[in-house]
Symmetry: C2
Subunit: 331 residues, 2 copies
Amino acid sequence: MTATKFAVVAIGNAIVDVIADADDAFIETQSLNKGGMTLIDADRAQSLYDAMAPGREISGGSAANTLAGLANLRHGTAFIGQVADDQLGEVFAHDVRAGGIDFTVAAREGEPPTGRCLILVTPDGQRTMNTFLGAAQYLPESAVDKDKIGAAEWLYLEGYLWNAPESRAAMTGAIAAAKAAGRKVALTLSDAFVVHGHRDEFFELIDAGSIDLLFANDTEVRAMMETEDTEAAVTALAARIPTLVCTHGAAGAEAHHNEEHARVPAEPVAAVVDTTGAGDLFAAGVFAGLAEGRSLADCLTMGAVCAAEVISHYGARPEKDLRALVKARLG
Amino acid sequence: MTATKFAVVAIGNAIVDVIADADDAFIETQSLNKGGMTLIDADRAQSLYDAMAPGREISGGSAANTLAGLANLRHGTAFIGQVADDQLGEVFAHDVRAGGIDFTVAAREGEPPTGRCLILVTPDGQRTMNTFLGAAQYLPESAVDKDKIGAAEWLYLEGYLWNAPESRAAMTGAIAAAKAAGRKVALTLSDAFVVHGHRDEFFELIDAGSIDLLFANDTEVRAMMETEDTEAAVTALAARIPTLVCTHGAAGAEAHHNEEHARVPAEPVAAVVDTTGAGDLFAAGVFAGLAEGRSLADCLTMGAVCAAEVISHYGARPEKDLRALVKARLG
């Protein structure tokens, strides 16, 4: 193994978030899945957008948000994802690159347009996501740059990409490239509906030793282990994988690394404005902690610090200097 | 005169703001005009955007921001402005209509794209605007809907539109339509550079009795009267026009209406995040106060309340319920 240029290279959906306030009546009238992520087609995206309040556009995408956090924490990162050759694609590419993230995948010509996620934020700060994947689902395997994967300590994969055949194939190729280069692979399950659709494939990867680090929240862990008992699910899943990080929302997070176990509370937040990106930024803190050789508990605390920052404002990209926040918290 | 459907119909630049943080060194390196508005061409927009930090896209445009405030305050409004047939044009149109503003001008096919304003926000909350007008400058006179102008108590004109020949012609037609329908006309001078370029035309309109209400800040008033003495400039300008509203930034605002004079301090703000839209929302509060038949001083206080809300967050569109804020302040 040679020295690595990037702490993390990530493959994810290239998405611009469209964020608007909504009350619970709107969530109900529009039959939205409150707190969850739902894939929608172009027609539904148009009708929902027409019904939404005025919005703000902020680049998003789960893995890209994680890299934005890592870059803010001064770690080298590279992103692989697919935008279209349009204005929202330019916005996404600008925001990624301006954040210091390496991004060289060419924009895709023609239809569909760049993916977007229509996010309704209710007064409780909860976000309800409705994603039109657009160009993101057409990430070709050829876009998976094996040199970059070889130059990164970690390959980080967004579970959402298992939902489209083209991007799923790209994932498989990426894992093979990482393993061939002796690199580690991390996966986020992304959402319980992803687990419902691809549970067997994820277990095949896990049992083949292809996944070194798994990120999940409690709903996803329960879906993986097909039980309603979160604690039992975490214990059982942790036994099958080198490192498991499980977030529990406002109740904090835990990690299992071989025989080691750590658990931390959530960091205090003055006012929860928009929970979008909480898990993504948690992962950023954990990756940064690992890169800095911190203890398992401190890695989780870094995740909690980053998550607390991102839920204190609209949008899933950090606005404050995360490194300063981590230094203030952990020294 | 028949009953009016709208409190205000406004003609302005249809612009999407791209807002990013920047330090003062960036403002200097890029030779930007701190605190001001500079018109830039497509090449400069690209090079500045490339150099900017990750941004957030929020619909803007001075007069459109004012209408967003008025609509939030539950007054009927209509907007006339030009977007292109592209994604940012869709964003602008959505945000205007979703805010409850009537907007029916068809998107313009082909180049240039929808206008955008690259806004750098420094740690002091000051905004430095760099505007690529794009399609906005091609607002045709045919888009000026005379029926809407006849159906509105006020026609509100954005001084920025005097800078392009096509939109300037549209303004002239709009004023004639308003006067023919017996409606009142308000003008915002927008920026000192607009005054420098069009001072004589503005005085022609004023002296012809075409402008019933003029909005200006102290720089613009000084530019109009070609003096460094703000107080003398306000007094002299007020003598030439039925109503003059002059904002003084953190020092508050004053208004002269015939023989009447009122002055109010700025409303307190916990933290000034981004001053973009302060003047626009001040105008919204004043128009709402006039529509509600309030005293001159209360009209100014409503303006100050709306301005205080908009500078407490990123973006020039209100996020809180302005009517509730006004009620809490004035009853």
